[in-house]
Symmetry: C5
Subunit: 91 residues, 5 copies
C-alpha cells in the first residue's frame, strides 16, 4: 500500500455506468516524515476520507476488494485512514 | 487512476479477434495544473472521449471491468471524462 | 498498452510445459515520433508480428486474454500491429 | 518479490471492515548488501515478522494468496522472513 | 517478461505454509548485450534454473500460472531458460 494525503477531488460527470456515486480523490504520496512527494494517484474512497487526511491506498486488482469497488473499473482505493506512522529508529 | 489528455489515435488493422471495434487513444499524462508530462499510455475508450479531452484511465485488470473491455487483452481503459480538478490549497 | 518495435527474438528451449510453441519477441518501446527508448519488454506474439513491425503490447493479467496465452505464465502479449500513430497537434 | 527490512508500523483505526486485525508494517527496500534504499512499501504481515527483520514481500493480486489476506483490499504481503541472502560472486 | 541472470539464493525458513519447497532465486536484470542492470527481483524457480543461467521472469498474477506456483503468494516466476538473444540489427 501507498501512504498519501488527500489534497483534492476530481469532478467527472460522464463516466462508466458502474461508477455512479464514486468519489474520486486526489492523493499525493508522502514519505515517512509526512513530506509530500511529487507523484499522486486518483483513488476512490471507501472509508469516508476527507481532505487533508492521511490515508492508505491499495492499487491494482486489490482495489476492487471492497463492497463499493467490486467489479468496477477502479485501480486504486482508499481502504484506511492513518492515525500515525510509528518508526522507532528511522535511519 | 491516471489523469491524462487525449492527444491522438492509434490505427491498427491487424489485431486480436476480440479487439474488433476497439478505439485505441493516445493519452498523455497530466500534472495537477494540467501540464503535460513526458509519459503516455495507449488506452481503449469506453465513455466516448474525444481528442483534447481530459480523462481518467484505469490500468491493469481493472481496465477489463467495463462492458466493452471484458475478457479482452486490454490493460488501460478510459472510464471517465474529467470536468475539473479541485485542489483547494495545492502545496 | 505500450507502443514498441519488434527488434529480435529470445530462444528458449527449456521452459514451462504450457509454453510450447510460444514465440518470445523482444519489443523496444517507442515514443510518439517512433524513436526508440532505452527500455524493452519480452512479449509473446499473438498476431503474427515480425521483426521491424510496430506493435501494441498489453501487460499483466490482460496479457492472458488471448486464445494462445490463456492460463499461461505470460505477462506481456503483442495484441495488435500498428499502422499509424495519428497525433494531430503534438505539443 | 521485494527484499526489505521492517522499520515500523502504521496505525489505522478507521479502515475497510475486512481489515480488522490486519497489521500494517512499513518495509524499507534493501539492496543485496542489506543497505536500505529510499523507497518503502506498506505490507500486511502474514508470518509474524517483527521490527528489524528482513523479509520478502509479494505484491499485487499475489498478496491476496494467504489465508489472512484472501479477498481483502491488500496489495502487499510479507510472506517470508529472510535468513540469509546467498550471492556467491556478486559482481 | 524480464530477462535476467540468476546470481544467488534467498534462504527463508519461516514462510507462508503454501511456500514449502519454493526455491527463491535472486535474478539480476540484463540488457540486450547481457550486461547486468542495477535492479533485481526475487523469483521462484519452476524450470530448474541454476546459478549463472540467463532466464525469463514473468511477474504479477501471471507468475501463478505454473503447476508449482498456483494459488501461492508468489509474484515472480522463472518460466524459461534463455539459450540466446537474437537481435539482428541492434540500434
Amino acid at each position: 500500500m501507498i501512504i498519501g494525503r488527500v489534497i483534492g477531488t476530481v469532478w467527472a460527470t460522464k463516466k462508466d455506468e458502474n461508477l455512479t456515486g464514486a468519489k474520486f480523490l486526489i492523493v499525493r504520496e508522502l514519505d515517512l516524515e509526512y513530506n509530500e512527494k511529487s507523484n499522486f494517484v486518483i483513488a476512490v474512497d471507501s472509508v469516508g476520507a476527507g481532505e487533508g487526511e492521511i490515508v492508505l491506498v491499495a492499487t491494482g486488482s486489490s482495489a476492487r476488494q471492497t463492497n463499493f469497488t467490486k467489479n468496477k473499473p477502479i485501480d486504486a482505493v482508499i481502504m484506511a485512514i492513518v492515525d500515525k506512522l510509528d518508526v522507532p529508529k528511522e535511519e
